[in-house]
């Protein structure tokens, strides 16, 4: 039951996030501080000034009710408890059919509070009306950076290649001219000696044999070194940053909005895979946050397309299309890795292996080990991220908390270990702790089966 409590806590948290996000999305120039504060605290979860979301837009709502023939004061009654209003006022009853989602009751809001809120709302410029467009378009630098597509490296390469070819042609042409000139001059001077290219080259090489020999040696050695380095780098995933169908900024979600990693990657505590969140998780927030007018609106539209969300009609069409992502952290098929083992049992934080995602503006990449070593509390490792050496190195240094009474499983392991005091002492002697490998974390069949 504890787990479900945690989950419900998370849900509450997520709602809080959602309202927080609204407060960022709405820009205020002037208003009574009271109205703004109340709107953000009470209304912003469902309402926007100029746009329908879960609830209808609120700008000019008082005028609208009056024009619609609502009874005097009916709108205040509605806010306090919409059911009372709907029972008393036919217009309010009509309004209650706007959406099947029922509005919460706010009995504590006084008439002046409500007026303050609505005054503030009416004072907000409408971004769609042009005047407020600049306000809406005021994207942060991070958002601007993320919307930019990754630079196509291929085109650059072609330019270099073509330029290289041109240079070679020029060099050869110049050389040819020079040679023709030389032949011409030698003919004129009547010199009998005619050397072919090869002979000339050999003569030259012999003349500077020391330099040529050294240069050859350097070239050969560097080729060998380069070959070995390239062989060692096969399947090294460090720095791997594939393009993604959606330019998802972790910095925005985990960083600025402070969403917990486990809210989206919610199987990380249960399963071997942390799993990329399914689109319905995105929709928990993005049902409201459509990024209208923002540079990333197109990205969010992709989520809507995947979820089958009809933005205008505010309903699901039922036509879903899963998003095909490019996997970033790819382990070979013969490796078994379990996230829940590390996160729940080992107590690791996500950033210890994935880096600080709150700073990750671009799409996800495999963080180089140097970056990971900067993370506070991380064991300093030397092997490249996601290689077996990296795993092994950590398993060799990381201690397992056994016998501290917190986990009965490890208490039992500790109890059994104490039966062999010599071995236990041996485990403790080198570094004063029982490391993962001493409990078998280096054994083949722990990860390969």
């Amino acid at each position: 039951m504890e787990i479900s409590n945690i989950q419900s806590l998370k849900r509450i948290k997520s709602l809080a996030f959602a309202s927080l996000i609204f407060s960022f999305a709405v820009f205020s120039n002037f208003a009574s501080a009271q109205g703004e504060g109340l709107f953000k605290a009470k209304c912003a979860t469902c309402h926007m000034p100029h746009k329908n979301s879960t609830g209808p837009k609120l700008a000019g709502v008082r005028a609208k009710w009056a024009a619609g023939g609502a009874k005097d004061g009916s709108i205040y009654q509605w806010v306090n408890n919409w059911q009372t209003a709907a029972a008393n006022d036919p217009y309010a009853a009509e309004v209650s059919k706007w959406s099947p989602t029922a509005m919460s009751a706010f009995p504590d809001l006084k008439k002046e509070d409500i007026d303050a809120i609505l005054d503030w709302v009416d004072a907000q410029p409408d971004p769609a009306a042009g005047g407020g467009a600049t306000a809406g378009g005021g994207a942060t630098g991070a958002e601007g950076a993320l919307s930019a597509e990754p630079v196509e490296e291929e085109s650059n390469t072609w330019i270099w290649l073509i330029m290289g070819v041109i240079f070679v042609v020029i060099i050869m042409a110049v050389g040819g001219v020079r040679r023709q000139l030389k032949i011409a001059t030698s003919e004129e001077e009547g010199e009998a000696e005619k050397m072919t290219y090869g002979e000339e080259l050999r003569a030259l090489a012999w003349k500077y044999r020391l330099q040529v020999g050294l240069a050859t040696l350097v070239v050969v050695i560097s080729i060998i070194v380069a070959l070995f380095q390239s062989l060692y780098s096969i399947n090294i995933m460090e720095g791997y940053q594939p393009s993604q169908p959606i330019a998802f900024p972790h910095s925005q979600h985990a960083g600025i909005n402070g969403i917990d990693c486990k809210y989206c990657h919610n199987t990380v505590t249960k399963s071997k895979s942390a799993s990329i969140p399914s689109v319905n998780v995105c929709m928990n927030c993005h049902k409201q946050i459509d990024g209208a007018g923002k540079p990333f609106e197109g990205q969010i539209k992709k989520i809507y397309a995947a979820a089958g969300w009809d933005k205008e009609g505010m309903k699901y069409t039922g036509k879903t299309k899963p998003i095909v992502w490019n996997k970033v952290h790819v382990l070979p098929e013969h490796v078994y890795f379990n996230h829940s083992q590390h996160v729940v049992v080992g107590g690791l934080d996500c950033k210890q292996c994935h880096g600080d995602m709150t700073q990750q503006v671009e799409t996800v990449k495999v963080q180089p080990v140097e970056e990971l070593n900067k993370i506070e509390g991380n064991i300093k490792l030397t092997r490249k991220t996601l290689t077996m050496g990296w795993c092994i190195e950590c398993h060799g240094k990381k201690d397992v908390a056994i016998g501290n009474g917190k986990n009965a499983y490890y208490d039992e392991i500790h109890r059994r270990l104490k039966k062999d005091p010599k071995l236990y002492a041996q485990y403790l002697n080198d570094d004063g702790k029982v490391t993962v490998n001493e409990l078998g974390g280096w054994e083949c069949a722990k990860c390969h089966y």
């Binding site: 780098s233 799993s275 969140p277 996997k327």
Partner: protein
């Protein structure tokens, strides 16, 4: 295989042309001197100079290397909307029920990301108490069979459900006579739908509609006998767990007879020698069956003698004088035991002959078994075959006088009827014939409409296998194809429902309504969770009335028994490669059926040995004018003057598309074809030879004649005995076990050593160590297995479960012949020879002859011994690996790192248990295995367990002790911060074992079952004297028999010591 065969290199050699003769001794023709070669002026003009060639070569190597460096982009597709009960990477289990027309069990289905990948018996709910058989476990593979029909057919071509329904409804409306031929319907919902259908047709005293139940394997004899004796056409429940004496006359109740999933569990419970009592099991039979191989006393009889044996026992039990045949000694022992145990006895007969069943009833009645071991109230509702009606219908159809509409559901009469071929012809003259079938099989391919049914795992079903047991089967995957539940089809044709498409709830709603009517207070969700519930049973008031026994089977010089094999059964799973490759529990033959004959009778006529090179001799068996030619297999224990042939083979004789694995394959892949271009079926269909009396009879008079030629056979074990080696198998009798000390029957191996005075003394093997011990005994876990040879019945469920869990490839007959089967777990079967007092015990050490010990006795006792990697703490395989690919874990596991293995095979050569398997080929892609290995097609691959690597060519593999399950179990405990409970960890084999013979657990847990077992008096380790210190223990086989020879050896000789 004929070695004298001459192969020509070409037509030249055949015709001996002058050119050929001139050059035949030159290895390289047209030799040219180096000078000639270099002087060839054209050489330089050739388009590719040698150096260029080398340059190209170098370039392509470099290019290939560079290309290989580029890691392919891996795509990852999360759900768009994640189903609530699916966690990617974690299994979801469903409780369900399995019923295929003959086997029935409550099961648990493991799904991963929505794919069912493993089936095991449900040990918590259902009267089968976790019992399964190989077919049930292998049925998960059938779900992904690429030959399954993907949509309905009309006259052989694909059509839509709408068109089919319209056509059938129209035909039904205009029909004068409608017949529904189905297998036994145990579904209350389908029964209700059929009753509604009948009511619609048979208004006002008409009888337009008829429902006939027909099974390939009939038990009508039992029902008819009970009708005569009790006035009700029933099959009572049998309780083997209460039977202190079990007498079976030709009933293979542990593997194929009636309800083996329940009986094996019950039987296993009575085979514990440590318990209060141990059952004594007598078997009288012709073919050595799985049940016979477990009997304490087995007697060989001809099928025609079954009645005589029962009649003799009826008289003898009552103390009357009677004369017996060659089986008298065994029958007398049985009578003595029956007299002692009285109502705690159970007599079962396997015959489908009414008279034989009447005699069995009479004997049970005299003993007082009714009301004790036999329950007439909670009747078994399976096997309701109405032979007389079905045979009449078959005759009518064959004669062109069939009904206007014939609906066939779950049956394959063209294959399984004695007059199947004539039936097929007659079927074509029927106006509208409908087959509800998953395959376009022998019957369906002759029908107007074929309506593919869901697979069991895609379907909502309900079952009433016994009067008081209600169970439902729930879908574990959305239907893969455009198929429809049979129940829905019936309802639609009856106008009671509309098609619901792929996510139809028609069957679900109907079953829910059925359940609500049967059990008004029942909670359907709770039922779905458990998969079953009990129903109140009205106590039957039936009393035994003697009735005249008529038409007892006549004896013949040679008699044939048509039996079912444990894996193939009645043949409906002939396309399942797991089952085809499962070695038969008794003969160890894969991929074939054959004529079984006692080797003593074969002497001088047929080869009694066989191997890769030498096949078995062929013989022709003629029964009722029909004949088949099959190889003759030497089966010790086969009754003299009898032969046996397995049913269920010869499927797809006309090349019907019933699945790739149902046909013979060639040496280098591809299907073997007959001269007329058809696919060659595996084995021969002998259903046509069944005789038809009042019921279908599974034995007959036969004539055996020699046929020319030999036939290669693929057996996983071609030796039959242990040749007196008690370090492999140990056996004793119950009386010795009860009365004597451990040393009498389970003496520890001792070696000589020098004591401190320099004297030779004996010391137990455990004192000798070549190496320092692994630190597995005190710290952490030490995983171990205990296998009880007393309760292991050799059924083969563990083998299939292991194959399913560990992605073990199927290799096909040719590779099995080469000894390259890949099963991680094998079940060795050992016969006793005349040189042995019991399997593994030399009768007389002085005169013991190894030559004679190779030959099994005429009627040998049998031991089944499951063998997998022993995870030796001093593993010989680990020390010889040059690359440390196989190492020891501190939990006692011998681990295999596939990606490290370079395939030297030293380890396999150094393994004393021969349990390591080498991957000779790329089974998931090489063309030789396309037909047999399910991992070769996209659909079949879905059955693979994602937690276990699919091994590649060139590496060694072996039992990992289900390390993926160990890790999962540990992780669950760690996450929940608790210790691992005993019994929480189960391997696939221990999960599947119906008799709980396999116990696994943590040996370092002092209170664990495995610790207790390993320290028990019966525990021994195979080949203990080698000193490899395995983590597998066996429990001495205890037979409840009188064995004076063994008494003498184990008691008298011990006393002498």
């Amino acid at each position: 295989m004929e070695m004298s065969k001459k192969y020509w290199k070409g037509i030249d050699e055949l015709k001996q042309t002058p050119e050929f003769i001139k050059h035949k001794d030159q290895e390289f023709p047209n030799q040219q001197s180096v000078e000639d070669f270099l002087a060839d002026e054209n050489l330089a003009e050739s388009s590719t100079a040698r150096r260029d060639f080398l340059k190209f070569l170098g370039f392509s190597v470099a290019a290939a290397t560079l290309a290989a460096c580029e890691a392919p982009v891996t795509k990852v597709v999360p759900y768009a909307v994640k189903p609530e009960n699916v966690t990617p990477g974690m299994p979801t289990w469903y409780a369900s029920t399995y019923y295929d027309g003959s086997s029935y069990a409550s099961i648990m289905v493991k799904t991963r990301e929505g794919r069912p990948i493993f089936i095991k018996g449900n040990k918590d709910f259902g009267f089968t108490k976790g019992g399964t058989n190989p077919q049930i476990i292998a049925s998960v593979l059938g779900l992904y069979d690429s030959a399954r029909l993907t949509q309905p057919l009309y006259k052989g071509s694909k059509t839509t459900w709408g068109a089919v329904d319209d056509g059938i409804k129209e035909a039904l409306k205009n029909a004068g006579k409608v017949t529904l031929l189905s297998n036994t319907v145990i579904s209350p919902s389908i029964k209700r739908a059929i009753a509604e259908m009948a009511a619609q047709f048979n208004g006002e005293g008409e009888s337009k509609f008829e429902h006939i139940q027909y099974d390939a394997i009939s038990y009508a004899g039992m029902r008819e006998a009970n009708l005569l004796n009790f006035g009700a056409r029933i099959i009572p429940s049998y309780d083997f767990s209460k039977a202190k004496t079990i007498v079976s006359v030709g009933a293979d109740f542990l593997s194929t007879w009636l309800l083996p999933t329940e009986f094996a569990v019950q039987y296993g419970a009575t085979r514990n020698p440590e318990g209060e009592w141990m059952s004594k099991h007598f078997q009288f039979e012709s073919v050595l069956s799985v049940t016979g191989s477990n009997a304490d006393v087995r007697s060989m009889i001809k099928p025609s003698e079954e009645a005589a044996v029962l009649a003799y026992m009826i008289k003898a039990v009552q103390g009357k004088a009677a004369t017996g045949g060659s089986w008298k000694a065994a029958a007398d022992k049985a009578v003595a035991a029956l007299k002692k145990s009285k109502k705690s006895s159970l007599v079962v007969a396997g015959s489908n002959h009414i008279g034989v069943q009447q005699l069995a009833n009479e004997l049970n009645n005299i003993l007082g078994a009714y009301g004790s071991t036999i329950d007439l109230s909670n009747t078994i509702e399976l096997h309701q075959s109405e032979d007389a009606k079905a045979l009449k219908l078959a005759a009518n159809v064959a004669a062109g006088k069939g009904p206007d509409v014939l609906i066939m559901m779950g049956v394959n009469p063209v294959y399984s009827l004695p007059n199947g071929a004539a039936f097929a012809k007659g079927l074509k003259s029927i106006k509208t014939s409908v087959a509800i079938s998953s395959f376009e099989d022998e019957t369906a391919s002759n029908c107007t409409y074929v309506c593919p049914d869901h697979h069991q795992l895609e379907n909502w079903t309900d079952h009433q296998a016994k009067a008081g047991e209600y169970a439902i089967g729930q879908p574990t995957i959305r239907p893969l194809h455009n198929t429809a539940s049979a129940l829905e089809s019936l309802l639609v044709w009856n106008g009671a429902a509309n098609r619901g498409g792929q996510d139809s709830a028609v069957a679900y709603d109907y079953i829910k309504a059925t359940f609500a009517a049967m059990n008004p207070t029942g909670d359907f969700n709770y039922l779905t969770h458990n998969s079953c519930t009990t129903l109140p049973v009205v106590p039957a008031v039936l009393t035994f009335t003697a009735a005249a026994v008529k038409d007892l089977p006549k004896s013949a010089d040679t008699e044939v028994v048509f039996y079912q094999k444990a894996a193939i059964g009645n043949g409906q799973f002939a396309n399942n490669p797991w089952l085809q490759e499962m070695p038969d529990p008794v003969t160890k033959v894969t991929w074939d059926n054959y004529i079984t004959m006692n080797p003593v009778e074969m002497e001088g006529k047929y080869a009694t040995t066989y191997d890769q090179e030498h096949g078995l001799n062929l013989a022709t068996v003629t029964v009722n004018g029909k004949s088949v030619t099959l190889p003759v297999y030497p089966l010790p224990g086969q009754a003299p003057k009898t032969i046996g042939i397995a049913l269920g083979y010869g499927r797809g004789a006309n090349g019907e598309n019933i699945g790739k694995a149902a046909f013979q394959t060639k040496e280098y892949g591809g299907h073997a074809q007959t001269e007329d271009g058809k696919l060659t079926p595996i084995g021969a269909n002998v259903f046509g030879m069944l005789s038809t009396g009042a019921t279908l009879l599974y034995s007959a008079a036969a004539k055996v004649t020699d046929a020319n030629g030999t036939y290669p056979i693929a057996a996983t074990q071609i030796h039959h005995t242990v040749m007196g080696r008690d370090s492999i198998v140990r056996e004793t009798t119950l009386s010795i076990f009860k009365e004597r000390e451990k040393d009498a029957y389970n003496e520890a191996h001792k070696l000589q050593k020098l004591d401190k005075h320099g004297k030779h003394v004996e010391a137990p093997v455990s004192e000798f160590d070549l190496w320092a011990a692994h630190p597995v005994e005190k710290i952490g876990h030490r995983w171990g297995i205990s296998i009880d040879l007393s309760s292991c019945i050799g059924c083969g469920s563990c083998l299939i479960a292991c194959q399913s869990e560990n992605n073990v490839p199927v290799v096909g007959k040719d590779e099995v012949r080469r000894g390259r089967e890949m099963h991680w777990l094998r079940i060795d079967r050992y016969f006793a020879s005349d040189e042995e007092a019991a399997v593994g015990t030399k009768a007389d050490k002085e005169t013991f002859s190894y030559d004679a010990a190779e030959i099994p006795a005429l009627n040998p006792s049998v031991v089944h011994m499951p063998l997998m990697c022993h995870h030796c703490n001093h593993a010989p395989c680990e020390t010889v690996c040059p690359v440390a690919a196989t190492t020891h874990s501190n939990e006692g596991l011998n681990q295999m790192a596939y990606n490290r293995c370079i395939g030297t095979r030293y380890c396999a050569n150094n393994c004393p248990y021969k349990v390591r398997r080498f991957n000779w080929f790329n089974y998931p892609s090489y063309k030789k295995f396309t037909e047999v290995n399910p991992a070769q097609d996209d659909l079949g691959r879905m059955v693979l367990n994602p937690d276990v690597t699919v091994r590649t060519r060139g590496v060694m593999e072996k039992c990992s002790l289900c390390v993926q399950r160990i890790q999962a179990t540990k992780l669950v405990a760690k996450k929940e911060a608790r210790v691992i409970a005993d019994g929480e960890f189960a391997t696939a084999c221990s999960d599947a074992c119906p008799t709980n013979a396999i116990v696994v657990g943590d040996w370092n847990d002092l209170k664990s079952m495995i610790r207790e077992k390993s320290e028990g008096v019966r525990a021994y380790q195979a080949l203990e004297e080698v000193g490899v210190k395995p983590n597998v223990w066996y429990q001495v086989k205890v037979r409840n028999e009188d064995n004076s020879l063994l008494d003498h050896i184990q008691v008298a000789e011990q006393a002498h010591h």
